[in-house]
């Protein structure tokens, strides 16, 4: 006679992380996107060791050298050089550092105030809430890139101002999402119970309600991460973002414009890098949405 206990008979449910990973790994595009993203992160972290050359050193004898596989390609410049003889591959690798930094910094700088404002709007629905939401409506009235352009026009171009501008323009979506999710949670019994047990308002907001609003926020953070990279590159392209000679992908494209007839690589490669990075992050975002928040799933 076996001495199985109840616990042995009932299989332990898979841990939440495992369950999440199974749902996420089901989506092949998302896994591919994640792999590309990890590669970018490695490039960004170890850029000085991975890049074959310095991103700003000008090899005056090798202006506009084509990539290795084309006639005239040089083994030391795998993807060719730009109009000043700088190694394109090294600039792209160092550019990953900048783009990820801008993306991460602007997500953090808009996510945190966005959560606070959204929770405040949900917990004070009479006066403060509508005021916050009207302010967000005003910011939503301007197309995000245009608002970012306007902010940078005022603050002046540069890395920090790019981050500030992008953080400001992505604020409204976090506020709206947090408020919408928190409004739903606030009515539930567990919140009332905590309140009756004497939980303070900050505790109710951040400890009780916030963890249950995280799923849509994580998805939104991923999507605005890719939007931030795209907007930063657009600002750089317009000459309003990170300034040369810093190897920013958009800024690289702006100076490559003049060589469109002679050197396809200086135009194509930075843009392809932007496209693949943004696409990879969006794929991860789609996968996260399907895995974390089945309600938002695209009906498939």
């Amino acid at each position: 006679m076996s001495t199985q206990t109840y616990d042995d008979l009932v299989q332990a449910p898979p841990s939440r992380l495992r369950e999440f990973w199974q749902a996420f790994a089901h989506n092949k595009g998302a896994v591919a996107g994640l792999a590309f993203m990890l590669m970018l992160i490695v490039c960004a972290l170890f850029a000085p060791w991975l890049a074959p050359h310095s991103p700003i050193e000008q090899y005056r004898d090798f202006l506009l050298t084509p990539p290795l596989w084309q006639d005239g390609g040089q083994a030391q410049f795998l993807l060719g050089t730009d109009e000043l003889g700088r190694d394109l591959l090294s600039r792209l690798i160092h550019g990953a550092r900048l783009s990820l930094l801008i993306g991460l910094a602007s997500v953090v700088c808009s996510l945190l105030p966005g959560i606070v404002l959204g929770l405040l709007a949900a917990f004070f629905p009479n006066r403060l809430g509508p005021l916050i939401m009207r302010m967000m409506d005003v910011m939503m009235a301007l197309p995000s890139l245009l608002l970012a352009v306007a902010i940078v026009a005022v603050l002046g171009p540069g890395l920090l101002n790019t981050v500030i501008a992008i953080a400001i323009v992505s604020l409204p979506s976090y506020v709206r999402l947090t408020r919408a999710a928190a409004m739903g949670e606030r009515q539930k019994d567990y919140v009332t119970a905590s309140r009756l047990a004497g939980a303070s308002l900050p505790r109710l907001m951040f400890v009780c309600v916030l963890p249950n609003c995280m799923a849509p926020l994580i998805v939104q953070a991923t999507l605005s991460f890719s939007a931030a990279i795209l907007d930063a590159a657009a600002l750089g392209f317009l000459g309003l973002g990170v300034q040369p000679p810093t190897p920013e992908w958009g800024t690289m494209l702006a100076s490559a414009r003049d060589y469109i007839q002679r050197a396809w690589w200086v135009v194509s490669l930075p843009g392809l890098t932007i496209l693949f990075s943004v696409l990879a992050i969006n794929l991860v975002g789609d996968g996260l949405r399907d895995a974390l928040d089945p309600k938002l799933k695209n009906a498939d």
Partner: protein, 336 residues
Amino acid sequence: MLSFILKRLGLLVPTFFGVTLLTFSLIRMIPGDPVEVMMGERKVDPELHAQAMQRLGLDQPLYKQYFDYIGQLLQGDLGQSLVSRESVWHEFTALFPATLELSIAAILIASLLGLIAGVVAALKRGSMLDHGIMGLALTGYSMPIFWWGLILIMFFSVQLGWTPVSGRIDLFFDVPPVTGFMLIDTLYLDDEGVWLDALHHLILPAVVLATIPLAVIARMTRSSMLEVLGEDYVRTARAKGLSPARVVFVHALRNALIPVLTVIGLQVGTLMAGAVLTETIFSWPGIGKWLIDAISRRDYPVVQNGILLIATLVILVNFVVDVLYGIANPRIRHAG
């Protein structure tokens, strides 16, 4: 219905004033002395400086400056460009048709192709075709359009020589502006070649500007179609023995269109942001390029009120979309 429209209209007023507050404070956030910044020189003669401050109203307290600004706006005075000395309103109205023509062409391309792609993907759900279309849509959605424009120029203009590189019309032709729409104004000339030239100039920028809306519309159409195709009335229509084409286009698509039309309407913001980039790449003389040029010239009245005009435009279009959606969907209307 009227009360619904009035309620929405009432929400517009604070938003509009919020935007004026935003454009008003933007200009005042510029670091440094405003007169020196506008004149572009340092150490301005103190007397001249005081005069300029007075002329610009900058010696007044802030709240009064704001009320003066609102007063001017309500009188239709948007100030004048520091560079051309033309009124901002005049410059805007002269350049706006170019942006409008480009945007209309883009949204037509995006809607037509997006609807077809979305319907096909929904009907062939799960097939290679569906995956291919959705993959392309996500790629389009992730596209840095300023680069996409350069690539199209490199291929179609430089390599193949099919389309011109920039502008709205060959400098060789003199087209008197009647409507401001090049495709219409060239018709008055009664010369097919000129009209074709205008069309050739329009096609690449329109495709570039259409890319992101196209992706959004295709994704929305697909998910909206999938939802509708599962509804009982579609099954009933099928069971009645109607032809598949009739079921798809008359019963399903008509109902799937409501959210899609809303999404199309909401693309106006994307189009305006895209116009800034597209017009810069193709030297298209519209308001996007105007604004970027004004920023590089530090022409602050143009930046300030140009942004205000674009924001007002976006607010108004969103309002119209909102009202139309309310008309199409009574549930929204009564939810207030």
